[in-house]
């Protein structure tokens, strides 16, 4: 086993494990950390899948953005005293059953077909993925790119309006 292959399976294992742990954790801070672990392992997998730009974005957007936001959210919505409230489950059995059903469907049908697809990645030498992504975004994908900009602006403004509302009247 080469080092690359070892890292590949290692990060797959980490991601899977942290996701499973996330399911069973009672402390919401720990859960956020497990999520972070999972997301970072995915970033590592992205690098191994030759999507470096994506990996960097994953770290910046998720680890730097989403998780931080989530942690802020946790701090703002936990009860006074900073003591995290243990998280309980509701309808665990039906939930797990549905989850298992989905997992089964995906494995049984989807991946059965996928195994028929070319199994290993075609190892083409890609020199400059980042440059290609840049060009594609500004040519083929310029419209989604701009629309994503509009969306970000709208969401920023809207979220600020909602979150900033203080009940004044009545």
């Amino acid at each position: 086993m080469t080092l690359v292959a070892f890292l590949f399976y290692f990060f797959i294992g980490t991601a899977a494990l942290s996701a499973i742990v996330l399911l069973f954790l009672k402390n919401i801070f720990h859960a956020a950390l497990a999520l972070l672990t999972c997301l970072l392992s995915l970033a590592a997998l992205f690098i191994l899948l030759q999507a470096e730009f994506l990996a960097v974005s994953q770290i910046l957007l998720y680890a730097g953005g989403v998780v931080i936001l989530i942690i802020f959210g946790i701090m703002l919505t936990t009860k006074a005293g900073g003591q995290a409230v243990p998280i309980t489950n509701t309808g665990l059995l039906p939930g797990l059953a549905v989850g298992a059903g989905v997992f089964f469907l995906l494995l049984f049908f989807v991946h059965k077909s996928l195994f028929a697809l070319p199994s290993s990645a075609q190892e083409t030498i890609v020199n400059n993925n980042i440059e290609r992504i840049g060009i594609e975004i500004l040519t083929d994908y310029v419209l989604p790119f701009e629309l994503a900009g509009v969306l970000l602006l709208a969401v920023l403004m809207g979220a600020a309006t909602i979150a900033g509302f203080k009940h004044v009247k009545n």
Binding site: V110, L151, L153, A154
Partner: protein, 493 residues
């Protein structure tokens, strides 16, 4: 493969056909800026006017592009396709946008500019969604509609309104995550996101596997969420009850029609002109039957008019789906006719639900006796409800006749028993719908109200209501004009 220069040229050419959307983006930015500039008391009133003018401009731009469009034109490297179908739907969205502004007139004063900006953003999403020919655009456009919608639900800034927003947000996010997963699986099969392309058609033609079926079903789940159709409908009543009335009218029309539009395009793509070995019409028929029945039956028990209208709009989605399941030209044209009528009637009803809400008439019982004190309003509301029920002499009746007759035609041509089932269930549901739509008129005309509602001067509302009623009656007596427009529409991909 095109070179970079050709691609840039394509972008430039595309902009010509992209005028309505550019106007919308402009409107969005102007509204954002005006929120910074105009937030003193007396200046707030001007926001309504600004929004109205901007959305009127969008409507004009759409009319222009309606006149420009005759065939399908691929835009932006094939991200979008300008088609007569899409442009007609865009016209409907813009009309809905203008009506939303008129319905919000002088109401919901807090953060009005942001409110309109978000409406504009959602409109932009709807515009883009019906033009999409690429799954990336589909996903992005759905989010462009959804995210502002979650926020708009909260714009009453009350306890319930926040709850509605949370529910909408959680349900919507899960639905879009499911859809996204479906898209990623479909990408595994076809290696392209352009669902109108040859590559796509060829790939799915050779792989009509359960894998393909699952991935399409996951995508459909996301689209059905936008349409508020079974099984992705449970959010609708809570959200409708919570959101501001004009926004509810908007929700029950714009995202729904945009969803139906993209659903039709996507189904046309996966149906492979009838060569698909998976019979998608079965899936669609079952969805239509369930949607129609659940919507109508659940509406029977509602005490809040907005909740009732939520279930009503679920049921109406069922009828729109009936127009779509056959995927024939005629069925789709009649579906668009139905959509047009539905839009008008729905806005008419919400105009008055909102109007009465401001007089603190919130639940069904408090409508009692309104027919006396607010006679004109009640009669106009009655016409709207009659049109939704599908009784003559309103266009709703004609629209239902059209949709059902095209279904009957398809049944006679294809001999599919399932169409007959849909037909019968549809007809029975029409009778059921009568019982809840006439609840409000029953209260207002035939019951005596204990509380006396002031019959304040509401000529503005009634003028708008009257115009909508005239249109509804006009479309009944002279549908040929609109049908002429619809006959121009083709449904090739």
């Amino acid at each position: 493969m095109l070179g970079t220069n050709e691609k840039l040229e394509w972008i430039q050419l595309s902009l010509k056909y992209f005028l309505p959307e550019l106007v919308l983006v402009g409107a969005f930015l102007i509204l954002l800026l005006s929120s910074l500039v105009l937030n003193k008391g007396h200046q707030k009133k001007s926001i309504d006017w600004i929004a109205l003018l901007l959305l009127m401009a969008t409507l004009m731009a759409s009319v222009i592009s309606w006149n420009q469009t005759t065939a399908n034109i691929p835009l932006f490297s094939g991200m979008l396709t300008q088609s007569t179908f899409a442009v007609y739907l865009k016209l409907l969205f813009d009309v809905a946008g203008v009506l939303t502004v008129l319905l919000s007139w002088k109401a919901y004063e807090y953060r009005k500019a942001e409110y309109y900006a978000l409406v504009t953003c959602a409109l932009l999403g709807a515009h883009v969604l019906v033009m999409s020919s690429n799954l990336i655009m589909v996903f992005l456009a759905i989010e462009l509609i959804s995210l502002p919608s979650y926020l708009l639900t909260a714009f009453v800034f009350s306890k319930k309104s926040m709850e509605g927003a949370l529910k909408y947000f959680l349900f919507g996010s899960v639905a879009s995550a499911i859809m996204l997963y479906g898209m990623s699986l479909l990408y595994g099969i076809t290696h392209t996101f352009d669902f109108t392309s040859e590559v796509f058609a060829k790939a799915i033609y050779y792989q009509q596997t359960p894998f393909f079926f699952i991935s399409v079903c996951l995508i459909l789940a996301g689209l059905l969420f936008k349409i508020a159709s079974t099984p992705m409908h449970p959010w609708a009543p809570d959200v409708y009850e919570a959101a501001p009335s004009p926004i509810v009218a908007f929700f029950s029309v714009v995202p729904k029609l945009a969803g139906i539009g993209i659903l039709v395009l996507f189904c046309l793509a996966i149906d492979l002109k009838g060569n698909s070995s998976i019979r998608w019409y079965i899936v669609l028929s079952l969805i239509a039957i369930l949607t129609l029945s659940i919507g109508n039956f659940a509406a029977l028990l509602q005490k809040n008019p907005k909740r009732m209208m939520a279930y009503s709009s679920i049921a109406q989605a069922g009828i729109l789906l009936i127009g779509a399941i056959t995927l024939t030209n005629q069925g789709l044209q009649f579906m668009l006719f139905y959509a047009t009528v539905f839009l008008l009637a729905n806005y008419l009803v919400f105009l008055y639900i909102g109007h009465f809400e401001r007089k603190s008439i919130v639940d069904m019982e408090s409508y009692a006796g309104i027919g006396k004190s607010n006679a004109a309003s009640s009669i106009l509301l009655l016409v709207g409800l009659i049109s939704l029920t599908g009784l003559p002499p309103t266009a709703g009746f004609l629209a239902k006749v059209f949709v059902f007759s095209s279904l009957w035609n398809s049944y006679e041509i294809s001999g599919q028993g399932l169409y007959l089932v849909v037909f019968v269930v549809g007809l029975l549901n029409t009778v059921v719908s009568l019982f809840f739509y006439l609840k409000i008129p029953y209260q207002s005309f035939l019951k005596n109200g204990s509380n006396t509602v002031p019959s304040e001067n509401s000529w503005g509302v009634n003028l708008l209501g009257f115009l909508l009623v005239i249109t509804l009656l006009g479309l009944f007596f002279l549908p040929s004009g609109l049908m002429g427009w619809l006959n121009r529409i083709t449904f090739a991909l």
